[in-house]
């Protein structure tokens, strides 16, 4: 059935790709992760920071880490400096 253009059903909601997902991370005293979702970190491959939208009321302050876990999985986690908490994210 074709949605009537004036019908609210014709309004589609777009979703975001690669939304951050909460992660359980244990960090060293310097803030680097040593355990991600109960799996120890084998290698810390890269670290970078993203500071954006500082001119808005919702600034983005993130410290990203690309890590290899002991299981061999390659993953990216970040610490949210604005709201607190750790997250994993694809596509970073």
């Amino acid at each position: 059935m074709v949605a009537h253009s004036r019908d609210a059903r014709a309004v589609r909601s777009a979703g975001r790709l690669n939304e951050p997902r909460p992660a359980r991370v244990e960090a060293n005293f310097d803030g680097t992760p040593w355990q991600v979702n109960h799996q120890p970190v084998a290698v810390l491959r890269e670290e970078w920071r993203v500071l954006d939208r500082w001119w808005t009321e919702e600034p983005v302050v993130r410290r990203y880490f690309e890590v290899v876990l002991e299981s061999g999985e390659n993953t990216v986690v970040f610490h949210d400096g604005a709201g607190g908490g750790w997250f994993t994210q694809r596509g970073a």
Partner: protein, 402 residues
């Protein structure tokens, strides 16, 4: 009242003065009783739009400069235009008139013409037909109708009629009726009005009394046309419109977007989706509209008639994209409406289209996924800001149901 059928076609003009303001005030009806005016569009000369009766009583006039209006009435509230809401409300009124049997020719927002001859027998005469048209327009808009044998005379009658009144000007009364009316009813540039006023011409009757050749020599073709209108205008028939197509697609953005490149990508996705609508199939787009819901609560709308009807997504996107630069605020929702479509036409298909089999298999597979999981389960990934440093703002999932 007993009315006879009219022998000459009567042209009726339905008029709703200040329609755009009334449509914008539907969001905050309490303001209708306060001094309020439609705010000027950003980027144009700061002249007021229509004003409420309270504002008029306080000395504010439509077309007044913003600064002058605020100095005259410091309590004046400026109402942001809501063109999308106005367009929708006007479309409802026109459809309601069409449902009552009138073939309507909309001239502008709040002004439409129709002939009554075809429906007079249905409603029992001219006056009952006009009353039916007023009822179709609804009581909330203060609509009024003027009717005469000529289009301009009908408009002039509507401009002096009271809310809810249908004023009929008989053919033999037309000259006397138009004579005392002001020149401002004529579609002339301000400079022309001033020129005529400097010559002592202030009423339609004074203009109509001048020799046509002299007016044309002094004021050019515009003046000649105004002179003709002042005498009632040409006896042009009303052409009922073709009802607009109802194919549209909207995209709600996760957050307000002001970046033009991001909006261009969203527009590209919307154009492709709306063209894939089954209702559009085999028809070409003649007129298209781009509508946005703004972060400040207002709306924005631009429509565009394509030079040649087209169903090419790139062509339509390229035609619409420059309009995005005119957006006054960040956008919460973007909408593309196919306002006018051509009749279905045959198309020359390729005998062996490259990859056609793969595409049809893929389409069938997606159709089955949708059938089992429901509408909205199949999405396209649309890159909206691939340069962004924040990964989740680079791309969106957009549901596809084609």
């Amino acid at each position: 009242m007993c009315s006879c059928r009219t022998r000459v076609p009567v042209i009726a003009c339905l008029s709703i003065p200040g329609f755009e303001l009334k449509a914008a005030l539907r969001r905050s009806p309490a303001l209708a009783l306060h001094p309020a005016a439609l705010a000027p569009e950003p980027g144009v000369e700061p002249l007021l739009g229509p004003v409420t009766a309270a504002a008029e009583a306080a000395g504010v006039r439509p077309g007044m400069r913003l600064g002058e209006a605020l100095a005259t009435c410091p309590r004046l509230v400026l109402v942001d235009p809501d063109p999308a809401a106005a367009e929708r409300a006007w479309e409802e009124i026109v459809r309601s008139l069409e449902d009552a049997g009138f073939a309507v020719e909309p001239a502008a927002l709040g002004v439409a013409y129709f002939e009554t001859r075809g429906v007079e027998r249905l409603y029992g005469g001219l006056e009952p037909a006009l009353r039916r048209a007023l009822a179709a327009a609804g009581g909330a808009w203060d609509a009024r109708i003027g009717a005469a044998a000529r289009r301009f005379a009908a408009l002039a009658a509507a401009s002096v009629a009271k809310p809810g009144q249908a004023l009929v000007v008989r053919d033999e009364e037309m000259g006397r009726f138009l004579a005392p009316l002001p020149l401002s009813l004529l579609p002339l540039e301000r400079q022309r009005y001033e020129e005529l006023e400097a010559l002592g011409v202030r009423k339609l009757g004074q203009l109509a009394g001048l020799p046509g050749g002299a007016v044309a020599e002094r004021l050019g073709p515009d003046g000649r046309r105004a002179w003709s209108l002042a005498r009632g205008g040409a006896a042009a028939r009303v052409r009922g419109r073709r009802p607009p197509a109802e194919v549209a697609e909207s995209l709600e953005l996760p957050e307000a977007v002001g970046n033009e490149l991001t909006l261009r990508r969203a527009l590209g996705a919307l154009v492709e989706t709306v063209l894939a609508h089954p209702e559009r199939r085999d028809r070409f787009v003649r007129k298209v509209a781009l509508v946005a819901r703004l972060v400040g609560g207002g709306s924005w709308r631009r429509s565009l008639t394509l030079r040649e009807p087209s169903a090419d997504a790139d062509r339509i996107r390229i035609a619409l994209a420059p309009k995005l630069a005119e957006l006054p605020e960040p956008v919460l929702e973007l909408r593309v409406e196919l306002v006018e479509l051509t009749e279905p036409a045959g198309r020359q298909l390729e005998l062996l289209a490259a990859g056609a089999e793969d595409r049809s298999r893929l389409r069938e597979g997606l159709r089955q996924v949708r059938a089992s999981t429901g509408s909205g389960s199949v999405c396209t990934v649309v890159e909206v800001a691939p340069w962004s440093r924040i990964p989740e703002t680079r791309a969106l999932f957009v549901p596809r149901d084609d």
